[in-house]
Amino acid sequence: DVKVTQSSRYLVKRTGEKVFLECVQDMDHENMFWYRQDPGLGLRLIYFSYDVKMKEKGDIPEGYSVSREKKERFSLILESASTNQTSMYLCASSNEGLAGNTQYFGPGTRLTVL
């Protein structure tokens, strides 16, 4: 079974803090994704990566950065957290190539910024 794990299920941070959200997958997938999920808005893509050290902006990259130093790990960084970044963050991975490949999701990190 594909397993995507996220470092924390719940996280509380203060405004202005630097926040790291970690995601690890164990299926040797090339593609990894970060989404945020908000009520009434569905999932929105923040960043994705299709190879180590490669990244591409999604639909809402402002206020976020990412790092992919190893194939299995994809980190989402909030340089200076703000209250409007309070949300559920979901990581996903998929095999390279075909657009029809299934994305496998982690359990999510619920981040609260006070």
Partner: protein, 114 residues
């Protein structure tokens, strides 16, 4: 660009009744279509997907969906729901021939009661 519309934000239904969750999409290019389910406090998992071939697609847990190109729809159906089907359901699309960047709808909350 693609967009996905899930008009029903909530669908209440009694156990053992049939259900249809509606999904319409907009795209100027060919797309692949997906339905994902999110159970409470969990990440998303794939229910089913349409890539090509038969327009009626069967998925896990007794769900099926029908791709209708002329109506740009991909409605999800189940003939008899169970309490355990209570969850949020997301429709998603991705253009064929790209690195599986999904565009999600806003989700439909299915609430099954006795």
């Amino acid at each position: 660009a693609q967009s996905v519309t899930q008009l029903d934000s909530q669908v209440p239904v009694f156990e053992e009744a049939p259900v249809e969750l509606r999904c319409n999409y907009s795209s100027s290019v060919s797309v692949y279509l997906f339905w994902y389910v999110q159970y409470p406090n969990q990440g998303l998992q794939l229910l089913l997907k349409y890539l090509s071939g038969s327009t009626l697609v069967k998925g896990i847990n007794g769900f099926e969906a029908e791709f209708n190109k002329s109506q740009t729809s991909f409605h999800l159906r189940k003939p008899s729901v169970h309490i355990s089907d209570t969850a949020e359901y997301f429709c998603a699309v991705t253009p064929t021939g790209t690195a599986s960047k999904l565009t999600f709808g806003t989700g439909t909350r299915l609430q099954v009661t006795l």
